[in-house]
């Protein structure tokens, strides 16, 4: 994650803190361009189109579909998610907090005789270490997943595109975003046309 990604990541949550970088492309009405969408009518077509976009070297783009498509992740060239690592870090943190909290309190701060057991016995710590490990891991899985997806958010530029609502019904769409380093209005349009996309359109960011 380079610093630009980090800034745009922070901007999703704290828009008041971050000045958005100047847009690379603007529309005739002066709004920034979010990206370019192309429509597809059949699953195999969008699948092969995704492979073409992947091979062309784009990185900031997505496929929208009314239902899950098997193997689309290889066609899109997804890299393995960082979420497991984040969850693992959360698990280690949870287990450590559980251990330190109990060990510190029962051994040093408030040593209390309970049933004649040793103050520093590790056995009673295990359930709390386990539970805290699970708790933080679950939190990281949910909130980490939301953060990596840029959620929650109130609006998305794609919703301003009337035809986009068809992706919940009978249409597939590929959207290549304008902050992709390879994005170029004419070259991207040519690629999407070659991939078999119809109704290619530029989407304005209207916020």
């Amino acid at each position: 994650m380079n610093h630009k990604d980090l800034i745009s990541f922070a901007a999703d949550y704290f828009p008041m803190l971050v000045r958005k970088p100047a847009p690379k492309y603007v529309s005739e009405s002066g709004n920034r361009i979010h990206g370019m969408v192309a429509e597809f009518h059949e699953t195999p077509k969008v699948f092969h189109a995704a492979e073409m976009v992947r091979d062309a070297g784009y990185s900031k783009w997505d496929v929208h579909s009314p239902f899950p498509i098997h193997d689309i992740e290889t066609a899109m060239g997804f890299k393995p998610t960082k979420l497991p690592m984040m969850a693992g870090a959360a698990a280690i943190t949870g287990v450590s907090i559980g251990a330190l909290l109990q060990w510190g309190t029962t051994t040093f701060l408030y040593p209390t005789v309970v049933q004649g057991k040793p103050f520093d016995a590790w056995e009673p710590f295990v359930p709390v270490m386990f539970e805290l490990g699970i708790l933080l891991t679950a939190f990281m899985c949910i909130f980490g997943m939301l953060a990596l997806n840029g959620l929650p958010r109130f609006h998305h530029p794609l919703f301003s595109h009337e035809r986009f609502y068809k992706v919940s019904d009978d249409r597939f769409m590929i959207c290549i975003e304008s902050h992709d380093p390879k994005f170029d209005p004419s070259a991207t349009r040519a690629l999407l046309e070659k991939a078999g996309g119809t109704d290619i359109a530029l989407i304005e960011d209207d916020d």
């Binding site: 098997h70 193997d71 992740e73 693992g88 049933q115 056995e123 009673p124 295990v126 359930p127």
Partner: protein
Amino acid sequence: MSQIAANHPAPDITALSDEQWAHRLESFAKDARLHEDNISMPKAVASKIGLPMLVVGLLMLVVSAIGIFSVSFSHTLAGLEIGIFTILAISLGSLFWTMVFHALNAGWSITMRRQFENLASLVWIPALCLIAIAIIEVLNQGVLLTWLDPAVREGNHLLEVKAPYLNANFFIIRVFIYAICWIVLSRLLLGWSRKSDETGDRALGRKARFWSSFGIPVFALSTTFCAFDFLMSLDYRFFSTMWGVYFFASCALGSASTIAIVMTLTKSAGKLQGVVTNEHFHDLGKLVFAFIVFWTYVTFSQYFLIWYSNIPEETMWFTARREIGFDWLFKVMIIGHFIFPFLVLIWRPIKRSPKLLSIMGAYILVMIALDMAWIILPMLAVQDPSHATPKISEHLITVASVLGVVMIYGWFATMKMTKSPLIPTKDPMLHEALSHKNYV
């Protein structure tokens, strides 16, 4: 009404029409992956691994036979029991997995199911050994099972109360019942599976599913009480309701680990190419990982409750072991049976690599044997304090006995593989296993 019947067929009816089934059989016949060479194990290939195992196994058993005279009969018997319970765990676990796959109509595991069935049908080896051990124990009036000793029973209130269960006759009867249950169940399942290879009768899978559902409770009860009889009653004062689950955890874990080894060796012999893929290993690895955690959960719960409630006849089981020189084994169990394999198997690439998974499988089998050693060996020292600091010769006898039993079992397993195709060739859901893929 016919729709309902198709969705909930009776055991002898399947939802597949004759035409669909004939079409599916045709597609199996055309599939290059299901060619004879790819799914059968010739004797010459199997004996490359099998014969060395047989030789090593026999040598080790000779060594342990020497141990009877040079060390002590009870020590050798304890060593053999560790091995026998390791292979019993593998066979019973395979029986369990076979029945679970049938009961849940599992599609992904079909290309591996024949090996589970093979290992399960080898349950007669440990079962016969257990019968022999039971008879030896009764005839010698308790070698390891001290409650059979009349001198111990004399005026012992606890054994008087427990006498309706812990008595020689009932003990022998129970062992025979367990053996019959396991052998009949495993024979039936393997028999139906092999018969469907020949006849292509798709109703046999239904039958297996129907009887597996009844087989699982039979398996659960017989395994639990067998663990009570041979392992828990080593110390007749001790009791734990978790004991059956504790042994079952080793069963399911040992079986999945062994299948990982079997599959890797089969694939490295050039068989099952494209039939058992990394996707199958991935799911097998998940099972191994899950049961590592399950074993830990059960074992720790048992220890934790005993530690907290602090009832003398329960805590003594642990304190005795830890005070007479087996504390190292306690630590090995925590680190070697949980922390290390947990941290290794949590990585996806390791589960997806046949080689790495089978290495972990072999390691876990060693851990299961050590777990059995932790249960069985310290009882020798409790009975006779001279065993508390084992001599090197005693260690050698233990290792030789365990290796001997496991290696002979391995030879039987390789021979079993040559007797039928390596997969159920005409299972109605074989296509699901052939195209199995993990989408996560």
